[in-house]
């Protein structure tokens, strides 16, 4: 149905008006007429658009990947094969052509399909060894970044925008620290 105020846009909100000396009545309005009619609706609309922008930014961010500055492989993940490493943007097809992975995270990103190759090469899919391993600060950051990104995704799914905003800042802090370490400007 059309907006009862402007008659142009689709109505998306039903508001009930209660005015003194008159019976309450309902109006079906479009988003912008609703914002004019009610301060509460106005606030909601503003918030909505902020989250839209945030959401878009975050989605794009994830797709382009953190290795963009250092030279990444793929640009956007969505339209291509769903098998794309979120960290470096490498498509699984690129790996199959070259047998070279894009980044350490590719092992997790492609684990299901990669393990077929591992079986073929090594007759095994798991490392066995007693090597002590000391992760660097960079490797630690890498892990934190991966965790923060996956938590952000869940936060957005359950619409916990406050947590999402916090995580967004966290991600950007981790990224700038990684950049410092990589370029030796620490």
């Amino acid at each position: 149905m059309r907006c009862e105020q402007c008659g142009k846009a689709d109505a998306v909100v039903r508001i009930t008006r209660i005015e003194s000396g008159a019976a309450p009545y309902q109006l079906c309005l479009c988003q912008s007429c609703a914002a004019k009619a009610s301060p509460h609706q106005k606030k909601l609309l503003e918030k909505q658009s902020t989250y839209d922008v945030l959401l878009q930014k975050l989605m794009k961010h994830q797709a382009v990947g953190e290795f963009e500055a250092g030279g990444s492989v793929a640009e956007v993940a969505e339209e291509e094969s769903p098998l794309t490493c979120p960290s470096c943007g490498l498509n699984f097809g690129d790996y199959q052509r070259t047998l070279m992975l894009g980044c350490p995270d590719c092992y997790e990103s492609f684990s299901d399909v990669l393990e077929k190759d591992l079986t073929r090469f090594h007759r095994a899919t798991r490392h066995t060894g007693s090597e002590e391993h000391k992760p660097s600060e960079l490797a630690n950051l890498q892990d934190r970044l991966r965790d923060a990104r996956s938590e952000l995704k869940s936060a957005l799914e359950i619409e916990d925008y406050e947590r999402a905003a916090f995580l967004r800042d966290e991600i950007s802090n981790i990224e700038s620290r990684m950049e410092e370490l990589r370029t030796g400007e620490a």
Binding site: G70, G71, M100, L101, P104, Y107, H127
Partner: protein, 359 residues
């Protein structure tokens, strides 16, 4: 580049090769490592490679154990210089291609090198004479631990050390031993001798590595499997197979001299004759002839020539080594002439006992 480096190279050839030195020529151990938080080298763009190189150089700078290593930028070396380093086994065939932000760090005694931005961010390798593979591995572990402290490796609980190509993942370890097997080859037992090697997760390559022929009866045995086995298990399997081959080759040589002495001796002395008098020798012919001489050393026919000295000769007749000698002496029109002259000098000088052979 530092001319002194060339004069010092190949010192890994020195030293006794032990009681298997007549069969085991050399050993090499290498580890593939990558930095966490950087894209792997094959898909990385130059700025990322530059960052990796800087990060590693900075780490090595902070590392006392690696303080004496010399840094060589591959892009600044000539093709001949890179080929020379490859022949000396300090860099890989892949690194010989050169390329931006590729660096080799070479230890003062030139038996250890750290290659940066090859297929992996880091390839650490140690070369030893004879069957010195365990010794090479110990030296390698030390370098690995020193580097792990300053740079930090890409690692996962599930897959171990993460490498650009999944064929190296897990331990990132490759051990290889070069064997000289003229006895098995001449008795036509080489195929049965090498049969089943793949079953152990091992593979055989020629003198020049991947896809090369078995020039001069040199065979490189190395592990292919790097995941799901510990470094020690990989070593044990390799040593089991290598020791069995050494044993079989010893038996083959005994049989060869017992039943075919006159034809083998004829072939060896003809090789000696060619090396002593020929005026032009190509590199694969030189390898074939030297292989026969190497077999004669067992019989004590070339008194002054040791297996180690012969190993050095094999290296010195390789094109880039020879080219460098030719450039220095400046008197030969072609490389094959220079090779023949060099071999005449060395082989004639080494021969003190050839009369004994006739008796």
């Amino acid at each position: 580049m530092d001319a002194k480096l060339f004069d010092r190279t190949d010192s890994w050839l020195k030293g006794g090769a032990g009681d298997t030195g007549h069969i085991a020529v050399s050993s090499r151990a290498r580890l593939a490592r990558n930095l966490g938080g950087f894209p792997f080298a094959p898909h990385a763009k130059p700025p990322a490679l530059e960052n990796v190189e800087k990060y590693i150089a900075e780490g090595i700078g902070r590392c006392e154990r690696l303080g004496a290593f010399e840094r060589l930028e591959l892009a600044k070396l000539s093709g001949d210089e890179r080929a020379y380093l490859r022949e000396s086994r300090l860099i890989s065939r892949e690194m010989e291609q050169g390329g931006e932000h590729r660096v080799a760090w070479v230890s003062p005694e030139e038996s250890t090198s750290i290659l940066v931005n090859e297929e992996d961010h880091l390839r650490l390798q140690v070369v030893r004479t004879g069957l010195g593979i365990r010794d090479a591995l110990e030296a390698l572990k030390e370098i690995d631990a020193a580097l792990a402290d300053v740079v930090g490796y890409a690692w996962s609980e599930r897959y171990g050390y993460l490498t650009a190509c999944p064929t190296n993942v897990g331990t990132g370890f490759r051990a290889s031993v070069m064997l000289h097997l003229p006895g098995l080859r001449q008795l036509k037992e080489i195929e049965s001798g090498l049969q089943g090697i793949g079953h152990h997760g091992l593979t055989v390559r020629g003198f020049y590595g991947e896809n090369s022929e078995f020039t001069g009866d040199f065979y490189q045995i190395s592990n292919e499997i790097t995941l799901g086995r510990t470094v020690d298990e990989i070593m044990d399997t390799l040593m089991l197979v290598v020791n069995r081959l050494v044993e079989k080759e010893s038996e083959a040589r005994l049989e060869l001299f017992r039943h075919h002495e006159s034809s083998v001796a004829d072939a060896i002395w003809r090789s000696y004759g060619t090396l002593s008098f020929a005026r032009r020798i190509g590199s694969s012919e030189a390898m074939r002839l030297l292989s026969m001489i190497r077999l004669g050393i067992d019989k004590g026919w070339f008194g002054d020539l040791s297996h180690a000295a012969l190993n050095r000769l094999v290296l010195e007749v390789q094109p880039a080594h020879l080219e460098r000698r030719r450039g220095r002496e400046g008197k030969f029109d072609s490389r094959d002439e220079a090779r023949a002259a060099f071999l005449r000098e060395r082989v004639q000088a080494a021969n003190g006992h050839h009369k004994d052979a006739a008796s």
